[in-house]
């Protein structure tokens, strides 16, 4: 991999994370537990979609083969997607959606805080702008973790189950591979492995306040950066990419 290839891959990871989670949140539209929450979820979805567009546009430019944000979003198959496995997991109930959001928000917050100091100005700019959005996302999902954890018996059970079901997808967030190492070495990327301690401290604090139990690290899955995804991603793409693929000559 050349430096350019690595930066391209790195930007895809960032953009794909935002896009796939935004796509998942879009599924909630019109179905949230209350109207106010419908507006909150779409606000977060819109932020994520905005991030995705900035990263994918930049990725396309770095690659230099004429692919724009839509070409990258609509014409890549499963093996070329770089989003974390956590984010392609189905929404489940509101507890599961919020748990997924919370784990990722608190990760992305730290990741983007680091990236806002990137030596790559454009990347730093996107990260700094997004960091403000994510600060709000994290507040929103943390509030819900605490409300549902320390709410009723039913909500506590549902939230605990959600955490247990998602726990094994979390270690992947902190994995470093050759691309990460190279990006860190160049001062472009974030050392995500190094963020784990801070993330643990924040997450443990919220879980404790929410009277939720931090699960044992008994299982974990990985592979998204090599294009090894769960079966869910294929369906997300089938739905998302349908129109441009069915009518490849059309402009929309």
């Amino acid at each position: 991999m050349t430096d350019k290839d690595m930066l391209f891959d790195y930007l895809l990871r960032l953009g794909d994370n935002s896009l796939i989670l935004g796509q998942r949140l879009a599924e909630w539209c019109g179905h949230a537990p209350m109207l106010e929450e419908d507006l909150a979820l779409t606000n977060i979805g819109l932020d994520l979609l905005g991030q995705a567009r900035m990263f994918l546009s930049y990725a396309g430019e770095v690659e230099g083969k004429g692919r724009d944000e839509d070409r990258l979003a609509y014409f890549r198959d499963t093996k070329d997607w770089r989003n974390l496995l956590l984010l392609e997991q189905p929404n489940g109930d509101f507890a599961k959606t919020m748990a997924r959001q919370f784990f990722f928000d608190s990760f992305q917050y730290l990741q983007f805080e680091a990236l806002s100091n990137s030596s790559d100005d454009r990347l730093a700019g996107i990260a700094a702008k997004s960091c403000k959005e994510i600060t709000y996302h994290r507040r929103h999902s943390s509030d819900w973790m605490i409300r549902l954890g320390d709410g009723t018996d039913e909500s506590n059970e549902r939230m605990q189950r959600a955490i247990d079901e998602l726990w094994g997808y979390l270690p992947e967030m902190f994995e470093m591979d050759a691309v990460d190492d190279a990006m860190v070495a160049d001062g472009i990327g974030a050392d995500v492995a190094g963020l784990r301690t801070k993330w643990d401290a924040y997450v443990n604090g919220v879980l404790a306040e929410a009277t939720l139990t931090r699960p044992e690290d008994s299982w974990s899955v990985r592979g998204s950066r090599e294009g090894k995804h769960s079966e869910h991603l294929g369906y997300i793409l089938a739905e998302m990419q349908f129109l441009p693929r069915a009518y490849p000559d059309a402009k929309w």
Partner: protein, 98 residues
Amino acid sequence: MSNETKNEHPLYEVFIRSKNGLDHKHVGSLHASDAEMALTNARDVYTRRSEGVSIWVVKSTDIVASSPEDRGSFYEPSDDKLYRHPTFFELPDEVGHM
């Protein structure tokens, strides 16, 4: 009230300062389980187009309001005190703006 029996989230009134230098203005209401949720909901519902720099939320039941029947006793007594308004005083044009 039906709200309590049915476990509906209480109603909050939302006031927004659109920019520094202006007063907070009532923009509408929403439901929330507590003050923090009311504040974040207000942000999501009422500032989607950068309408604000500051938000107040207050439980609707905490607002004390005058009633329309008080109109006579509250507001009409000031109607005959025209000397409170600058236009009450006629000054010659030569004096200029005052």
